[in-house]
């Protein structure tokens, strides 16, 4: 056995200097990103994301052929836009799911297993550990979301020959929606088990979803109570309203006017919702940091 060197000898490693906050965040974020790769979370997400895009491409190819053969030119663009928006709607759902799934276990799992103990006894703050984990999950989620949305838009362009209006703005709104839910999953993970956290965050997403539709239908039929309840739900969990804003942005003006299809936007969420959602994420991060810092491990 090799004896340890005495303190008088130079050893690899001293003196240590506690890493700065930013350095600690990047170390933990890097580890979290590697985790997504090593545990094949990223590979599975990208594989099925790619499958989704390919399937959409094949479907769009045949639909575009039919539409071009049968529909008058004026309607072609609107139909293709509708098909693309439908694909983005499905992609949005997958993105929401993935944003939550990559995050629910990141703190909760390590707290449950005890892995977190040797992290939190290092000279780094718990806020830095939490923020690092958030950043690592966020990068994983963003990569997935960009592949999925980028794939759908590329297929729409190459196969269908069209791009929805304001596509960039729409994608940013979808990213913000995922970020809201991802951050909620981090908040829940500071105190709940992985499963309870998942159930809670999807439950909140469900509330926002129902609220969003209540707002739309309430506006359409002129029911102020339904609209008010819907708006309140959107403020509490601003995910669905961000999707509605994204859908509104990516529809051609004519579709907005006739208010048809699953992307009806009778009540267009205020652009201020973007500011609200960004503030919401920042406050949620502060809350997560506080809840994590003040709990026993």
């Amino acid at each position: 056995m090799t004896p340890m060197r005495s303190s008088a000898e130079p050893t690899g490693g001293i003196p240590t200097q506690a890493p700065g906050r930013l350095r600690a965040v990047t170390i933990v974020a890097h580890l979290t990103f590697i985790e997504a790769r090593r545990r094949r979370i990223l590979a599975a997400a990208l594989l099925f994301g790619a499958a989704f895009v390919v399937l959409f491409g094949i479907g769009l190819h045949f639909m575009a052929r039919d539409i071009r053969a049968n529909a008058p030119p004026a309607q072609q663009a609107m139909f293709l836009n509708l098909v693309t928006l439908t694909a983005l709607y499905a992609a949005n759902f997958l993105i929401v799911m993935t944003s939550v799934l990559v995050t629910i276990d990141t703190l909760a799992g390590e707290i449950g297993s005890g892995v977190i103990e040797t992290l939190c006894t290092k000279p780094v703050s718990r806020a830095a550990v939490g923020l690092g984990k958030w950043l690592g999950c966020w990068l994983t989620f963003v990569l997935y979301a960009l592949v999925l949305c980028g794939g759908v838009l590329a297929v729409a362009r190459l196969v269908g020959g069209s791009t929805p209006p304001n596509a960039g703005r729409g994608i940013l709104l979808i990213l913000l929606e995922g970020t809201v839910l991802l951050t909620l999953a981090l908040v829940g993970g500071t105190r709940l088990s992985s499963l309870a956290n998942g159930v809670t965050v999807f439950g909140l997403y469900g509330l926002a979803f129902v609220g969003g539709w209540m707002e739309q239908i309430g506006t359409m039929v002129g029911n102020a109570s339904a609209r008010y309840i819907g708006i309140t739900a959107s403020l509490l969990v601003p995910s669905e309203s961000l999707w509605q804003l994204a859908a509104y942005q990516m529809q051609p003006p004519i579709a907005r006017d006739v208010q048809i299809g699953p992307f009806l936007t009778a009540s267009v969420p205020s652009p201020a919702m973007v500011g609200w959602a960004i503030g919401y994420v920042l406050v949620a991060l502060v809350v997560a940091s506080h809840l994590f810092r003040t709990r026993d491990l």
Binding site: M1, I14, I27, G114, T118, K122, S125
Partner: protein, 309 residues
């Protein structure tokens, strides 16, 4: 020259989980370079105490300092190593990657980080398994990796929570040797263990904890360890028992015998002289150093409230 603060100071640290008191009024000081054993039955509050000292668990009341810094302060944690009881780690990392990650979190400078990691891997005999995923490690290998992790960054105080629970005799010897090397370097060690034979050969001092409370604190060096004295006296009265306490501690009457702990052999003639001066006949006096296991069983089985002195 300013003297370095003790490795550890705890004053009346208590932790309550709902109605359950896990740790009650823990007060102790761990001088620099001392190897301290924290002993007690399962559920006595040993791990919770260690976690409070490390800042993982917030005390309900009381305070403490780690290497002169308040509990939970990053500056203290930078100089502390910790091997947790369940040694759970990121299993999808390779052994070497895991140590590098922990070294970076400790703030070890890039120059020398790899050398430090390799040295720890060799020390716990894991150099050959360094590129294997931790998931593939045996229980003992994971525990040794955890030990290597606790030794990163030249800590001044190392907490080891049941460090030999998953180890074979060779692994246990390795832990014993590591603790000895740490002591030689002047590093303090706070050890939670069930293995009394190990504690007996590695620790300078032990404290027994039961029901969240420290019920006895003693030194372990052969010449320093307390003697257990047994006497048979002509008569035993409450006053006599109370007066005997001035010569030692834990005075108790068991049948026709009086038992007590004294600090050394020199106390024995003092007791006999005093008994003679009181006119109390002494029919038998025996003294021996009990094994740690005997003390443990006695302390754990005892009703703490019945201990006098």
């Amino acid at each position: 020259m300013v003297e370095a603060p003790p490795a550890l100071e705890a004053r009346s640290l208590s932790k309550q989980f709902g109605a359950k008191v896990a740790v009650r009024e823990l007060s102790l000081t761990l001088p620099r370079g001392e190897v301290f054993g924290f002993l007690g039955p399962n559920g006595a509050g040993k791990t919770t105490s260690m976690k409070m000292l490390l800042g993982l668990v917030r005390p309900t009341s009381g305070e403490g300092r780690l290497l002169g810094e308040p509990l939970g302060a990053a500056r203290g944690r930078a100089r502390v190593g910790y091997l947790p009881e369940h040694f759970a780690f990121h299993e999808w990392l390779e052994g070497r990657e895991l140590l590098r990650f922990h070294a970076r979190l400790l703030g070890m400078p890039t120059r020398g980080l790899d050398a430090g990691v390799e040295e720890r891997l060799r020390r716990v005999n894991l150099a050959d398994a360094a590129t294997r995923r931790v998931r593939e490690y045996s229980k003992g290998m994971k525990q040794r990796l955890g030990l290597a992790q606790a030794l990163l960054g030249e800590p001044e105080l190392v907490f080891l929570d049941e460090p030999t629970s998953g180890l074979d005799p060779l692994g246990r010897r390795l832990v014993r040797d590591v603790i000895r090397e740490l002591r030689q370097r002047g590093t303090s060690v706070f050890l939670n263990s069930h293995l009394l034979s190990e504690v007996e050969v590695t620790c300078d001092r032990v404290a027994f904890v039961k029901g969240g409370r420290v019920v006895r604190d003693m030194r372990l060096g052969a010449e320093e360890r307390d003697l257990e004295v047994e006497m048979r006296l002509e008569r035993t009265t409450a006053t006599l028992v109370a007066d005997l306490a001035r010569f030692g501690h834990d005075v108790r009457v068991e049948g026709d015998r009086v038992r007590m702990g004294v600090s050394g052999e020199e106390t024995l003639p003092e007791i006999t002289r005093w008994l003679a001066s009181q006119g109390v006949g002494l029919y038998h006096l025996g003294a021996r150093r009990p094994s740690l296991e005997e003390i443990f069983l006695e302390v754990v089985a005892d009703d703490a409230d019945a201990v006098l002195g």
